[in-house]
Every structure is written in structure tokens, then in C-alpha cells.
Symmetry: D2
Subunit: 247 residues, 4 copies
Amino acid sequence: MKKLNVVIWNEFRHERTKEKVKEIYPDGLHATIKSFLDVNEDMEVSLAALDDPDQGLPDERLENIDVLLWWGHMAHKEVSDELVEKIRNRVYLGKMGFIALHSAHRSKPFTSIVGTNGNLSWGRNQKEIMWTLMPSHEIAAGIPDHFLIESEELYSEPFYIPQPDALVFGAWFEDGHIMRAGACFNRGAGKVFYFQPGHETCRSYYNPYVQRIITNAVRWAKPNELGYPVENNCPHILTKTVDEFNN
Amino acid sequence: MKKLNVVIWNEFRHERTKEKVKEIYPDGLHATIKSFLDVNEDMEVSLAALDDPDQGLPDERLENIDVLLWWGHMAHKEVSDELVEKIRNRVYLGKMGFIALHSAHRSKPFTSIVGTNGNLSWGRNQKEIMWTLMPSHEIAAGIPDHFLIESEELYSEPFYIPQPDALVFGAWFEDGHIMRAGACFNRGAGKVFYFQPGHETCRSYYNPYVQRIITNAVRWAKPNELGYPVENNCPHILTKTVDEFNN
Amino acid sequence: MKKLNVVIWNEFRHERTKEKVKEIYPDGLHATIKSFLDVNEDMEVSLAALDDPDQGLPDERLENIDVLLWWGHMAHKEVSDELVEKIRNRVYLGKMGFIALHSAHRSKPFTSIVGTNGNLSWGRNQKEIMWTLMPSHEIAAGIPDHFLIESEELYSEPFYIPQPDALVFGAWFEDGHIMRAGACFNRGAGKVFYFQPGHETCRSYYNPYVQRIITNAVRWAKPNELGYPVENNCPHILTKTVDEFNN
Amino acid sequence: MKKLNVVIWNEFRHERTKEKVKEIYPDGLHATIKSFLDVNEDMEVSLAALDDPDQGLPDERLENIDVLLWWGHMAHKEVSDELVEKIRNRVYLGKMGFIALHSAHRSKPFTSIVGTNGNLSWGRNQKEIMWTLMPSHEIAAGIPDHFLIESEELYSEPFYIPQPDALVFGAWFEDGHIMRAGACFNRGAGKVFYFQPGHETCRSYYNPYVQRIITNAVRWAKPNELGYPVENNCPHILTKTVDEFNN
């Protein structure tokens, strides 16, 4: 079986500059995500970072990715528009799934792929309880009806995303707020998942349910077996009669 | 302008038997709802109750209703299957909107119209904060991004409703739970809205935002101007060529 | 690997009484469906029919089914309400997926699970062209952008189903009609798929794309790995403080 | 009553250069749309064109528009990115509805607001039959279950739009194709409608049902009464206890 080519892209600045973040994620939060995805025999996982050459995603690499996970925060604007365009096309053409993590709600790839400004409100770290809204969904496999995250950054509604095709998780926060926390979007011939936990000063990527959800999401978002060539154009249809249709 | 014929159906048992409920809603909670709807010149509002003759909805009355609001709780099973069938048909045929209030989540009309068992979890009265998820929706008109309900019965996810066509409101509860609290469903040629606040020992129907939401929902759920006769059958189409189509 | 327990339920009357149908599906159309599903090593497929004892689905059998396919037509009313209730519960509790084939659009299980009267219009057998609307969906895996069905019974919009959670296929018919032909619904903790081709006097179940779609649908509809016990009740939540939440 | 400020933006090139188009729409197709919208007392309708100063939409004009209709075709790329950004923000902030007509499926504002490449296939002018899929929707008010358009440019699935929040119309084309032809999207705090008929060499904007649909869509897409200030930012929430929430 061909393994899924999974790349975790991380802005990777906080972990190198802030002591507190370095303590939690010494090799970067993408490395922590890699370590729990690595146990899956169907995945080949590697890392990419903003400050790598070509922002971590030279063409020959990007063209082989099946699922791209994206964590960005303070440097959204530094990501090249050209790269964003390539990512968006790859998702729309059904060649790659895209998973936006936490503060990627406002990243260029996520907002331009799904159609949103990504706006929400945010506040201090606090208790979060994650609720499963759609137990029938593949991404909820094995997840209890709710689980506690000891400390996460408050992210709050109104969250100006499009209505998801599947709203799988919702979050409760200690200070009185809620959030659509796990949301699926089909776009073009590809798939997108947004998942809210993952602030750099919190330990959410060590939570086993968060890990299971991200693992499930990678499998869900993988490219479908397309039965025809999906291309980036608007082809002209030559006139034919219905009798000329055939299989 | 022809007024909307709005009927508020109430099980109307708690208010006659429990002192605490009687204090809050002396004439029944349906009477309180009527009093805030009555200010609208486009609505003609009246009341119906389970213990009325024909369970409050004889045919000649039902056949004139534009929007039916439904509050039931302990006596769901007493509602006649024949009446439920008439209500469902009327909604499916686009002749009447249906608004399910609070404990009507498990009423026969709501569950059979939208397709659910209506299951959820529930608990003690507590603080609730209602969040607007879809500010573009007609039912959210004039509603702030959030508002407090001082005391409501806890209703919690997982709430086994179908994914709504529009998820307009979500609720936060003090004890750590969330709830999809305001949800729209198009069914057949008609419309359905579920709205969670309204426990009989709480004062939610006096809350001005709750009142505005219910008012908005009545207008949203009203029957559409149908451009063709919607009937309860599967008509046979006589063979015709495309050239015979005309307007 | 435990195999999926797949049962194909067929009304199985036409094939025994009408010469034309018997010629096309000599052992019943469910037998033809079984024969193309049988090649899949992950499925254990068996047949059930209306005139079998217990209408083919005694409790001990029903309780082991992972995915139930349903074909009914003239005898919808003969199906026992008690059996329908058991099927619906099993789907809502996430124990079984349900696939409604062709004229099952108006069957008791389909209409009561998803919430519809199932009405549509119908007419003579004719050319149909099936179009893929959602190439990212698992059920569209391997299916071209369109394919021809040489002859199918005309089924036409307006089709009074709820808006699907995923509208995967749409159909064109020679006489000027269209139909939402392949539609997914999440209900409770379970999954439902409706697929339009399959009239008893047509040969659609021999079409390789129809076969692939039904095969894909069985895998998609299989029960999810539930992370908590989904039960048919509304449990009371004992008061606890947020600090008492744990995993 | 304050009238809706409705602006019809047209590329307005074909009508000035091609004889055939000039014959059908001598003053531009936007003028024809204006003439049927003008009969509505609740609308103040005006025209804008690509070759007007500031591409027809200087800031002081744009900032007063309630609903913007957009027709573009060959010159999508000439539309300024800065203007597109202003339009998108205005929709996301709930200040303006947006209606994309026909070939605007691939326009910069439509594709970037909803999240799509807008790809589809197209072919020769031919008979189209429009089917109503969602008779409960405001935009379907007064529209029959189907109507004929004598000649329209073939637009065909796969159409790579996101799943609509409401799929109101579907189209049948003579040559064997179908199209999701009338689709609603909620984005941010605003609303978007796509409607397929309207090729420059066809007479669809003279069709009374097309006119009614566009009229309905203008009213549906108008800005909602927002109950709070929607702004283009991610505000920080000051820590407060739940007791500090109030209305």
C-alpha cells in the first residue's frame, strides 16, 4: 500500500523565541504532531517551516503531498501569495487535503480556500470542554461525547466561517464562550478540516483525543480516487447529440 | 394585508398543577408568548391546549393556521397520531410553518417532521449564554452577538438532530455543556425552527431577545408563495417530448 | 478483519410475477446486487425478502446487520410498523447504515428516518445521464464526471427530500427532467444514502458504475467506531462543577 | 421606508461591440435588468460598468449599496484586486448582498467570496428547463415547479462550487447536461446568490420567471438588521467572570 504523504507546515517562530513555548514544544509543535502521526503505518510524515527555503514547500515537494496540515499565527502575511495559490489549486483539483490548525483560522490558505475572513474573538488560556456533535462522522471515530482540555486559548463565536458541510465538534469555554471547533468543508474536488485546539502555550497536542481527531482527519482529508481528470479550466463542450453519449 | 394566523399550542398541564410554574406563567406560557406576539400588526395570534376538544386543533382550525408553535413536555405520548400526521402533512405541503419550543425536541410532530429521536441530555436550571452563529439569518435580526439568560434548564449535546439547514444560535451552559439552540430545517415545501429556551420553571419567555427571536422565527417560517400546487402524491408524468414543454 | 454484515432486503414480488422482470433479474434484483457485492472480501452479504418469516428481519438477524440495503415498491404499506421502528432506532443509534434504492424513496424506513413524504414524479423508461456533483465524496470514488444509463424509469424533481448533507449525484432524463439522484443524510449517530437507479424493468444493477457507487456507499454507510455508548433516551445529568469534569 | 440601494454592475463590452448582442440588449443587459427591477417600489436601482471611472464603483458609491448584482465574462482579470477586496469585505461584514449572474461564476468577487475556482463546462445555446428544488425558499416564491428557457448557453456540471446553504434551482439542458443553477451561500455576515441564466446572445432577462427569481433574490440578499457591530478584526476578549456577563 502506498503511504499517505503527510506534511505538517509550521510557522515555527514562537518555539524558537519564547521560552515558555520552547519548554512545551522543544522541537516545534509540528514535531509533536509528527510523533503521534508517525505510529500510523499508512502515513509518511515530514515537517516544513516558514523559514525553510521556498517557505518549506518547493514545487516538487508540494506536488507529492496528499494531506497538508497548517499551523500559522503571527506571520500569516509573510506567506507568499504564489504559494497560497498553488496550495488552493491543489486542494480544488482534489490532489491534496488541507487541515487548518488553531490560529490558521486566519491564514491565507484557509481563508482563501473556504471563503471567509476567518474572524473570531480570543482571550486568556482556560478550561475547554470539547463536545461531539456528529458521532456518525469519520473524524469523530473513537471520541467520547465530550472531553476536557485543561487549558486552551479562548476562541469564541461569532466565528465567520461558512456553514460547514459537517460540524463535528463544538467547544465550551470556562469564561462563557462557545466555538464551532471542528468543521469540515468540501471545496472543489478536495477536502478541508478546521480544528481549534493548539495554542502554542498550551499542551493540547499531547491530549490523546486531540491526537486521535487529527489522525482521523488526515485519513478523512486524503484525496479521493477521482474517476476523471479534474483540471483547472472551463472546457468547451463540443456539440453532440444525446445518442453520442456513451461510457 | 392578510394577517398571519399564528397558533401557540401548549401542553398546559404544569401551569395548572405546579405552584411554582403558575406563579411565573399564571395563564400558561402560551399566553405569555401570545402577549409579546400580539404587538405585531401582521399577526393574529390564538391559543390551543392539549386538553381542549380535539386536542385544540380541530380540522377546520388547523387548516387555517399559517404558523404553529408547539410546547409539550410530559404528555408527548398523549398527542394523537392522527393529529400528528395532519400537522406533518400540512408542513410538508408548504401550508404551515412549525416552531418547536424547548421540550418539544422530543414531541411527536417535531421528531417525525425533521427525522430524529430528539434525544439530548438535561440537568438543573443554571446560567445560559446564547451566541449568534449566523448573523446573516433573518431569525438573528436585531440580536446581539451574545446574550445572557439568567436561568434555564440545562440542555446538552449530543443532540441527535439532523444537521440543520441553518444553525443560527448556539448555547453555553454554566456546568460545562453546549447546545445547538436555534436551528432551521426545510422539510417538504415547508419550514421548521427549533428553539431551546423555555423551561416551565424559568422566565425565558419574558427575555426580550428570546421574544425577538420567536417573533423573527414566526415571520421566517410562514408559508412561501407557492408557484404550483404541491400535493401529497407521486404523480405519473405522461410522456411528452421536450418540444411540448411550455410555460 | 471482521467482515461487514450486509443485508439486501427486497420486496421481491415483481420478479416472481412479471415475466419481463423475471427475465432481467431471475433470482430477484437483490441477488444481482449480492453478486457484485460478493467480490468484496470485506463484506458478508445475504438476502432478505418481504415474504420471508418475520419479513426477513427477525430480531436476532437485524441486530447483527452493519449495512441494510432496501428495495421496496408496491407493498410499502405491508411492512410492519414495529419492524420500521426497530430499523430506525438501529440507524439513529449508530449501529447500522441504511441505503434506500430507487422506489424505496417512499418506503416507511427511508421516509421516517430522514423526515420526508418521499414524493416525486415519475414516467416512462428512458435514457438517463448521471452527473457527479461532488467528486471529493467517498461514494464518488472512481466514478467519471458523467455516465449513461441506457434505460431507467423517469424520476423527477420536485423530490421532497430534506437538503442532503452531501448531494453526490444528479440525474438528467431524456424527457426534460432532472433528479437529485445520490444523496447522503446523517441521522442520529448513523448514515443514510438514497440512490435513484434500479427500476425492476431496467438493467441498472448490471451497470458497472451503478455497482461501484453501491459498493462505495456500503463502505461509507458502515457504523462509525463510537467513542461512547449511544442510547435511546434523554439522560439526566447530575449536577457537577466544571472541576469535576475529567476524561 | 428606506429603499434598497441596488446596483447592477455589467462588464458591458459585448453589447457595444457585437451586433447580435446589441440587438437583444441595446442599452446593455444591465439596463434590461434595471427595467424589470424598477417596478418595485422598495428598490432604487442604478447601473455601473467596467469602463466607468473607478470601474463604476467609487468608494462613496460602494459604501451605500445594499445589493450588488454582477455580470462579467471576458474581462474578469481587468477588475481591480483592490475593488474586489472592498466588495468581499462589504459582503462579509453584512453590509451588502451579492448576486452573481451567469458568467460571473468565474468572476473575482464571486470566486473569492464563496471559495471556488468557479470552473464548469460550457457549450452551444440550447433549450434549458429550470426545476425548482426547494419550494420553501424565498427566492422560489411564485415560481412553478419547472419552466422552459427557449435558448441558453449550455453550462454543465461538474460545477466546482461549495455545497450551497440552499440549492433552490437545478437546470436540465437539451444536450444531456445538468447544472446547479440557483444556489445560496451565507458568507461572513452576508448573503450571496448565484443564478445561471443570462448569456449575452440569449433573451433570458426577458423571461418573466427569470425576472421574478432575480427580484426575489434581491430581497433575500439584502443586509440583515445586525444586532451588534460586525467589524473586520479578531478582537481580544478581556477576562471576565461569567457573573460579569450582562445584556
